[in-house]
Symmetry: C2
Subunit: 178 residues, 2 copies
């Protein structure tokens, strides 16, 4: 039973800010599973936030913004950047202004659309991001170190299935609204 697997966690009560503590005995297994997934990602994300702060005096929204730009050497328009960063939130314009002041990004006039700007990493932004990304990868490797590789492999497969499934369900809902 899924509920048994879930109840296994009881002896190690998460701290009160943990999403999973919202789960109650009368909650459906799917809800418990979601709250557990959320608490895992929140736990790891908070670790990344702490380390970005302590080692680079920076924030996750800044790191995410630079990560998006690093993937697009030709730069991104502000609207596209906002769309890609929808999730972490943060004020994209404010962050871009700060990074520009620090010489890590530059705003350039778009060659196709002269009314629009493209934002891209400067060489110094590229160097800093490269260092941060290498450390970020190291933090995750350290955090996951010691987990049985068979378990990680199963988890990757199950999360893949979950992602495909959730996408399909969302698509169905859009096509057949109630």
């Amino acid at each position: 039973m899924a509920s048994n697997a879930i109840r296994r966690s009881k002896p190690v009560e998460p701290p009160s800010s943990d999403s999973e503590t919202r789960a109650r005995d009368d909650h459906h297994d799917s809800l418990r599973l979601w709250l557990r997934l959320l608490s895992c990602s929140t736990l790891i994300e908070s670790h990344i936030r702490q380390r970005l702060q302590s080692e680079f005096a920076t924030t996750l929204p800044r790191f995410d913004l630079m990560a998006q730009l690093e993937r697009c050497p030709e730069g991104l328009k502000m609207g596209e950047l906002s769309r890609r960063l929808m999730v972490t939130g943060g004020n994209v314009t404010g962050i871009t202004d700060m990074l520009e002041k620090e010489g890590l990004v530059a705003r350039l006039i778009d060659s196709q659309d002269r009314r629009a700007f493209r934002v891209k990493l400067t060489p110094s932004g590229q160097r800093l991001f490269k260092r941060m990304a290498a450390e970020h990868e190291r933090w995750i490797i350290d955090l996951f170190e010691g987990l049985p590789s068979r378990g990680k492999q199963q988890l990757a497969g199950l999360l893949h299935d979950l992602k495909i499934h959730v996408r399909q369900q969302k698509r169905l809902r859009v096509e057949n609204p109630v």
Copy 2:
């Protein structure tokens, strides 16, 4: 190999705002696993945000704040509420002000510490939250509907193991800083 499980997802490329698209072939399997976990939770969370907006004209930080209060019928001090809501962010004071104006929460003087306020749900806040929580549970059940229950059970077990492991690694780091 975990990387095989991860590469299975290739035919169904996620949209560009998906965290997992950051993963590259030279990325370590642990990083790929983390980006996959993050993209799942982001995907589900964005669904919840959309439905809270479309069905209750409300936001996730408001919902989360009410969820914390619902678990504490005696109310919470502002500092405690902020700490618990650290993750979803949002301006706790601003949200509390709005909810108070709408008659959904009340600020009361703390009986132990007369300089502090406690915030609690009003009866009307309790009624609204109950309706929202029931719908929220239904959205998650619908989203997970059709996933094989053995897979859900395995996923719950693996996420449990991951959570315990990550907590231990974080604790080790605090006790033995490099």
